[in-house]
């Protein structure tokens, strides 16, 4: 089904396509940081549309922490193949050698080493001058302040107090060697827009977003799915089959499930319309400190 040509979704789609085409035109070596979730699925779809009938000229990069849900990895490999995109996968091998993981080192160290540091390694390795990501301004307070073209210095740092002015749709893509720009084509989308667009455009997303009986344990007020044998169980903890789904996808030990009956997209959207908690609540890292996201972003986290 094609979306109504006068709709707000269509305007958002056109704006995002324009941003993506601008990246392909202005940068020598751009990449799309594909994180497999719903926002990345929308971006992948937009990437396909932006360059049709050509194949997307921008490769996909997935920073694999080795702790993603297993379904995400198989989904990633299949979808990138179907879309005709080159897929690059990077893992922080130093972190793997040191055995860094969320259970042994905690969410803060794990995220820093396996995500933030890994991302910087990959950006340095391939010398990307632009990295497209799926972040939205409605997600979180420091994201609400970020530009569509967000400049990073050679150390990948964001300087929130001194951002480049960004007027109209005139994006400044000029960088010196080593510097880069993070580009957020979905800046003006809301979570609701994302789901409605997925529904309207029939975009495939991992089934983890839909409710199903899954083995979970309750820990620190969150429902954590036991996705593989690496998850240590504390005394008294027994995985229980509960009907759950996920509102965001990340490392399985750090991603809280919610109990839900929504096993189809329309039901997910319907549940969301009456939801009373924001989607980032399911992420352990945000709860570390109230300015945690801004701090992580300054350090190079996506």
């Amino acid at each position: 089904m094609m979306i109504d040509r006068d709709s707000g979704l269509r305007a958002l789609e056109a704006e995002s396509i324009r941003v993506i085409r601008e990246v392909a035109s202005e940068f020598a070596n751009p990449v799309f940081l594909y994180s497999i979730g719903k926002d990345s699925s929308v971006l992948l779809h937009l990437l396909y549309k932006a360059f049709y009938p050509a194949s997307p000229p921008i490769p996909l990069l997935h920073v694999d922490t080795t702790w993603k849900f297993r379904e995400m990895i198989s989904f990633r490999d299949r979808r990138s193949r179907e879309m005709g995109c080159r897929l690059l996968v990077h893992t922080n091998e130093d972190g793997v050698r040191q055995g860094v993981g969320p259970f042994t080192h905690g969410s803060a160290v794990h995220t820093d080493v396996m995500k933030t540091q890994a991302l910087k390694q990959a950006l340095d390795k391939y010398k990307f001058d632009a990295a497209i990501g799926g972040a939205r301004r409605d997600e979180e307070k420091s994201r609400a302040k970020e530009r569509v073209f967000s400049f990073r210095n050679a150390q990948h740092r964001w300087d929130p107090k001194n951002q480049r002015p960004e007027l109209w749709s005139l994006y400044n893509a000029r960088v010196h060697k080593g510097e880069s720009v993070r580009v957020f084509p979905l800046s003006n989308w809301t979570e609701l827009d994302i789901w409605l667009y997925i529904y309207r455009e029939k975009i495939e997303v991992p089934s983890l977003y839909l409710a199903k009986e899954r083995p979970v344990v309750e820990r620190d007020g969150m429902l954590i799915m036991v996705d593989d044998a690496r998850m240590p169980l504390f005394p008294g903890e027994t995985p229980l089959m509960r009907r759950v789904r996920f509102r965001t996808l990340g490392c399985y030990p750090l991603t809280g499930a919610i109990e839900s009956e929504a096993d189809t997209l329309p039901k997910v959207i319907q549940e969301m319309l009456v939801a009373r908690t924001s989607e980032r609540q399911g992420r352990v890292i945000d709860q570390d400190s109230w300015a945690s996201m801004e701090k992580k972003k300054q350090e190079g986290y996506f």
Binding site: D4, S25, A144, K161, P165, S169, K267, Q270
Partner: protein, 637 residues
């Protein structure tokens, strides 16, 4: 609402409703303590847009950082940066999203401080309406004037004047009416045609989302009611079709499409178009999208066009209706908001980005500066941070454009610094200047510094000396290619292009060789004066002539490159067969055979061509050149 109901049907209905909702993009601005962030937080709260966890976080933050004695401090919802919370001010624009049954909203909460004017302009550039807050106790302030001026400059046609903190003036009507009258006068001066004034208290919620009992004397709508119903649509544009080409799509030999977003008018297959600035004509063959070909594309659509004819079209060109094309020009009158710590100086080249096109531009004259606080016109030789000027602009290429008032997409531009890459100005094109009107250049002597500045480079002379066959020209050629690729303006002088023309009358006697070098040196000097990087590739065997050449140039402008290849290697290479002829006596006075070569004693660079690849040698020349330029900054910054 039961989930067991047919969710798909319910969602389809909801989708329909959600999709037909219009979107209003607005900004909130006002001076520092007028309560912008509080108003915005109150709106989110009243429209039930806050989630439970956000509310819980707000309660915690209000106790820790709040300014309302532990009561909910809505400002903390929107001031997202640590520095903002610490200082209790807004530094950068925050974008917020909310919707009601009538409309979707994107709000840009803009900083009030003058030093963050560029961030306010960032928010205002994409808005249709501005909510301007005024403290009822204070009335109009300098910031009110400045913000309204910036709104007018960027073409915002609707202002909602929110007279806030009415609770602190006992909800008095007279106070409100006085401020309203003052503001209407101000808005008229600044070219903002539509003003709606509403008295309210963001803290108490009066007239924010519903009409207040406290102000029965006020017959107008609440703030939210007005935002939900105000019509901001611009009068339908009379412009014909315009689409800047963003990206050329060439998946294979059989397909050539031009991708872009339609910025005005509409187009259908078969329509005649003209491609500007070149002016070539064709017809639209197809309107391609991933969802299938379209019968018509209109303003806002992101599409890919194919044309009936093969044309040389690239990014930055504008495809337009052939019957109603936009103007093409390279000289303009424009308003400029300066946004950089380093001041604008007329004559300095900057990158100018307009639509999908980037060209080099200079400000040739600042006609006047506008004091953003009083709107008085002042004479100016430069523009400082956050100042607005009315300027003449000169571009190095002609572009298709529309006046900003007609079309934002083809009338708005930014300037980018060529050294720092910073976005340093935002501008709006007013009209094109005829060339004759703009011959007058203000404050600018055309001298060697000015000529060098327009090229954005430091001129120099690279003098390659060495035996015939030593590899001078090979290295010099590669150096020129690389410098050119790096954006430098160069010229290579060698025996081939000088001896066949300028020095056609000279032979190879010692006198003629001296005259040959004298002429080449003088030509090089003129070229350096013109701002070029000149590469001279001549055997130039005598020290005294090379010394004479050096004396023509300024300190550090002349770099002698000795291409030091032994005679036997040159003779063995003998690329033109000259050594063989000289040995056979067919050529007289041949350097190295029967005429001397005096090797340089102290060259800036000595190249050994026998063991090093030519690209490494070329790179060494470039590094030496660039290093010498860093030591001697000539272009004042």
């Amino acid at each position: 609402m039961g989930i067991e109901l047919d969710a798909a049907t319910a969602i389809d209905a909801y989708l329909q409703q959600h999709e037909t909702k219009s979107l209003l993009r607005f900004i909130t601005c006002g001076s520092v303590d007028d309560g912008k962030s509080t108003l915005l937080g109150r709106l989110l709260y009243d429209t039930k847009l806050l989630f439970d966890d956000q509310l819980a976080a707000l309660e915690g933050d209000s106790r820790r950082h709040g300014t309302q004695n532990g009561e909910l401090d809505f400002a903390l919802l929107v001031d997202g940066l640590s520095a903002e919370r610490e200082q209790g001010i807004t530094i950068d624009v925050a974008y917020r999203f909310f919707s009601t049954d009538q409309r979707k909203f994107i709000v840009a909460d803009c900083p009030g401080h003058e030093q963050y004017t560029r961030n306010m302009a960032t928010g205002a550039s994409t808005a249709d309406l501005a909510v301007v807050l005024v403290d009822a106790r204070k009335g109009l302030l300098t910031q009110t004037r400045r913000h309204t001026y910036i709104c007018g400059l960027l073409g915002i046609r609707h202002v909602l004047l929110a007279v806030n903190k009415m609770d602190l003036v006992e909800y008095g009507e007279a106070v409100f009416r006085r401020i309203e009258a003052d503001y209407r006068e101000l808005a008229a001066q600044m070219g903002v045609p539509h003003v709606t004034a509403i008295p309210l208290s963001a803290l108490r919620g009066d007239n924010v989302s519903s009409r207040s009992q406290q102000m029965a004397w006020f017959g107008g709508p609440s703030l939210l009611q007005h935002l939900e119903t105000v019509q901001v649509a611009r009068p339908a544009s009379a412009l014909g079709f315009r689409m800047p080409v963003q990206w050329v799509c060439r998946p294979d030999q059989g397909f050539r499409g031009y991708a872009g977003q339609v910025v005005a008018g509409s187009i259908a297959p078969g329509d005649e178009v003209v491609v500007l600035p070149a002016g070539v004509r064709s017809k639209v063959a197809r309107i391609v999208t991933a969802d299938g070909d379209l019968h018509r594309a209109t303003d806002g659509d992101a599409v890919t066009l194919t044309l009936a004819d093969e044309r040389d079209i690239s990014r930055g060109d504008v495809i337009a209706a052939a019957s109603q094309p936009p103007q093409v020009a390279d000289q303009f009158a424009a308003h400029l908001l300066w946004m950089d710590e380093a001041a604008l100086l007329p004559g300095r080249p900057y990158w100018l980005k307009i639509g999908t096109r980037t060209v080099t531009a200079q400000i040739t004259e600042i006609k006047h500066r506008v004091d953003v606080n009083t709107q008085a016109r002042r004479p100016a030789k430069r523009l400082e941070l956050n100042e607005v000027g009315y300027c003449n602009l000169s571009l190095d290429h002609a572009i298709a454009f529309e006046p900003y008032a007609q079309c934002r997409e083809l009338g708005a531009f930014i300037l980018i610094d060529r050294q720092t890459n910073a976005t340093i100005a935002a501008g709006t094109l007013d009209f094109a200047l005829r060339r004759a009107e703009n011959i007058h250049w203000q404050h600018l002597e055309v001298d060697r510094v000015a000529r060098a500045r327009i090229k954005g480079q430091q001129p120099a002379c690279l003098w390659f000396t060495g035996l015939s066959g030593s590899g001078k020209s090979t290295v010099a050629n590669l150096v020129e290619k690389r410098l050119h690729a790096m954006g430098y303006h160069t010229y290579l002088l060698d025996g081939d292009n000088v001896r066949h023309g300028l020095n056609r009358d000279l032979g190879f006697t010692e006198e003629d060789r001296v005259e040959n070098i004298r002429r080449v040196a003088e030509v090089s000097r003129l070229m350096v004066d013109a701002g070029l990087i000149v590469l001279v590739s001549f055997i130039s065997p005598f020290r005294s002539e090379r010394r004479m050449a050096r004396a023509l140039f300024g300190e550090g402008e002349f770099l002698e490159v000795f291409v030091d290849t032994p005679l036997d290697v040159c003779a063995q290479r003998d690329p033109k067969g000259l050594y063989a002829k000289a040995r056979a006596g067919e050529i007289k006075n041949f350097t190295g055979i029967d005429s001397p070569y005096e090797a340089p004693e102290d060259p800036e660079l000595r190249l050994d061509t026998t063991g090093t690849p030519v690209d490494v040698l070329a790179q060494r020349v470039i590094e030496t050149l660039l290093a010498s330029q860093e030591e001697k900054p000539q272009t004042p910054r």
